[in-house]
């Protein structure tokens, strides 16, 4: 556990917190403040789990970004998955997707009604399912950002090599950089800097963020998910802001290499091509998603079973869209912890284990009472 405990060492945390305070004070002295967007849902959860918000100076605010793959998946996608399940296809999925509300219901409810929905910890389990049940069609719910895309698309690689004919993907892959651009293009969202996602950066590499630092003058710091990683990352952001700099810094060098992961990107490039994607909250963004190239269309469940993914209908009153963009905090949503709870979620941000509302509910809802 050396590699966990050494990244949670209180003796190192204390001086980092002091540095955050002095940097915060330096900003405050000239009437400044820092609104830092932690892009990734895993960062949001880590911030909650380790109580990091309480360690920050008053004028430093963490805003959760659009980095939870489940949360940004549009309701129409869930509708399509449910339609497939009702047709007798076996749906293989990460567990979080079970309880995401579509226009009318969830996959979990569909499973209770008798549909075949299998929860997987790894995409490979979908391949095992397909091999074990050659009589059934298996569809893997292929959602996720760059981190997840490569391992998921390797399923197609496996299926081709092993001649598996009964496995396909319902894709809703999303790319992080176009979402960050959408955040910056929205005048209502005021973000001063990005705490960049850890594992996404391991695939795309730090250079991808350079336009945000250069053209938008936003500090971009890549940090890991342990509490010291996060504190260290926030210090680096405040350092840049105090010194009036904006650059890309990689503080997660133990995982994120200078050129990212070219092998993973080559795999993605071989099987996938860019496509406009629909994001919950952000709407339709050009070239912000990836879909299977035409020559691999037999692995594309949407085409194979002719279940077009429409926009679907979002739950009325739910502020998930605003929360995903960082415009509102979950605490500002009238449904939060009232009508919308993890047991009976109205929006996806409350369902996903990486969702912003779920993190606030789980770790912070009574801390403020």
């Amino acid at each position: 556990m050396k590699y966990v405990d050494s990244f949670r060492d209180p003796a190192i945390a204390a001086p980092l917190c002091d540095r955050l305070k002095t940097r915060g004070a330096a900003l405050a002295a000239r009437g400044g403040r820092a609104r830092i967007m932690e892009v990734c849902g895993s960062h949001t959860m880590a911030v909650g789990r380790h109580g990091i918000r309480q360690l920050l100076p008053e004028n430093v605010t963490l805003i959760s970004g659009p980095g939870c793959p489940v949360c940004v998946t549009a309701p129409g996608y869930i509708d399509a998955a449910i339609a497939l399940a009702r047709r007798g296809v076996t749906i293989a999925t990460f567990g979080d997707m079970l309880h995401v509300p579509g226009s009318e219901g969830t996959l979990g409810e569909c499973r209770s009604g008798g549909a075949s929905v299998e929860v997987c910890y790894s995409p490979r389990s979908a391949r095992d399912l397909a091999l074990a049940r050659p009589d059934r069609e298996v569809v893997f719910l292929a959602i996720g950002f760059e981190t997840t895309i490569a391992p998921v698309v390797s399923l197609v690689d496996l299926a081709l090599r092993e001649h598996i004919g009964n496995l396909s993907l319902l894709t809703a892959f999303k790319l992080v950089p176009p979402a960050l651009r959408a955040v910056l293009d929205d005048p209502e969202i005021q973000v001063d800097a990005f705490l960049c996602p850890a594992h996404v950066s391991a695939i795309i590499g730090p250079r991808t963020y350079e336009p945000f630092a250069r053209d938008f003058r936003k500090p971009c710091v890549i940090a890991g998910f342990e509490p010291l990683d996060i504190l260290f990352g926030l210090c680096a952001i405040l350092d840049q802001m105090v010194e009036g700099r904006a650059s890309v810094e990689n503080l997660y060098e133990r995982v994120v290499h200078e050129d990212g992961n070219p092998i993973a990107r080559a795999l993605m490039d071989r099987y996938l091509r860019p496509v406009a994607a629909r994001w919950r909250g952000l709407g339709q963004l050009p070239d912000s998603g990836l879909m299977l190239r035409d020559e691999f269309v037999r692995y594309d469940a949407e085409k194979r079973f002719d279940v077009p993914v429409g926009p679907g209908r979002e739950s009325p009153g739910c502020l998930c869209g605003e929360v995903i963009k960082g415009k509102r905090s979950p605490l500002e949503c009238p449904l939060f912890a009232q009508r919308c709870t993890p047991t009976d979620p109205v929006g996806p941000c409350m369902v996903s284990s990486e969702g912003t509302c779920s993190a606030y509910y789980k770790y912070e809802r009574r801390m403020r009472a």
């Binding site: 556990m1 966990v4 949670r8 060492d9 209180p10 945390a13 204390a14 909650g48 789990r49 380790h50 109580g51 990091i52 918000r53 309480q54 360690l55 567990g95 079970l98 309880h99 219901g105 969830t106 979990g108 409810e109 569909c110 499973r111 209770s112 009604g113 910890y121 509490p227 709870t341 993890p342 047991t343 009976d344 284990s353 509910y361 789980k362 770790y363 912070e364 809802r365 009574r366 801390m367």
Partner: protein, 337 residues
Amino acid sequence: MRQRETSIQLAHGGGGVMSRNLIRDEIVSRFGRGPLEGLPDAARISIAGRELLFTTDSYVVTPLEFPGGNIGSLAVHGTVNDLAVSGGRPRWLSLGLILEEGLPFEVLRRVLDAIVAAATACDVRVATGDTKVVARGQCDGMFINTSGIGDPIPGFRLGPERLRPGDWVLASGTLGDHGMAVLAARAGIGIMGGPVSDSAPVHRLVEAAAAFAGGVRFMRDPTRGGIASVLNEAVEGQAVGILLREAVLPFAPGTRSAAEMLGLDLLNVACEGRLLMICEPGVGEGILETWHRLPEGQRACRIGEVDDRGGAVILETVMGSRRLVDVPQGEVLPRIC
């Protein structure tokens, strides 16, 4: 009407909020008077003027065998522990077996041998039983039900309403080992020195604390939903809360590795051989000393205190900040016991 309102979902059995609602709305509303009131781990009943403790539990764990035990040892320990944490001395067990067509005899024999060994170690006797066989696909290898009868140990007066600020929260050993062992076995996650179930009886720990019985306010074995569930239940609707200190929480290294890899919070993960006790501050040291003399109490420690933060369980992190420890929601880990 939505499906969740018309049929049972897996999450109803997860030990989280949905389980609690199911029990409250469908079971307590029908049977909630008398010994079932308050849903104790074991009911206090009286037969011919003699008070007895009575409990039952069903075991559906998958896989049937896991590092540290099997469904048989679990079926004895689980029921023995329900009696023990109710302040009882376990005496008699019933044994109901539901076997699936095709179950290998060698597996059945290993499970039955484990039942004999566990019952002997707990000093309980199997007094009655039943065996049914169902067709392939109608159960998963085998299911077991055990009921238990025990004698109340004099002196214990237990109940969450007795908690007072300043009380100590004690754990008898490392947390979350059983849930992680079963999950790792199920997922085929091979970790060197990986998690091993803590499945074991806690009745000797209870006996050892009997000398301090008057100062003991609350005892539970944190099974489904882990200590997060048990502690939240203890303070729900009360004027007191609980503050846990992350720095002192006892975890086995293999269990922690597996939990960190899978992103699970061990506070939500089941134990099957640990005792969680809340006691007056004056008897805390004494209880820990007696526990440390037992093999099952080697890693016993104080993990937190009762405070006046009504209804909330809070964790003081190693970073020095505080965060909520919530009741796990929904389908935490199905079929771990």
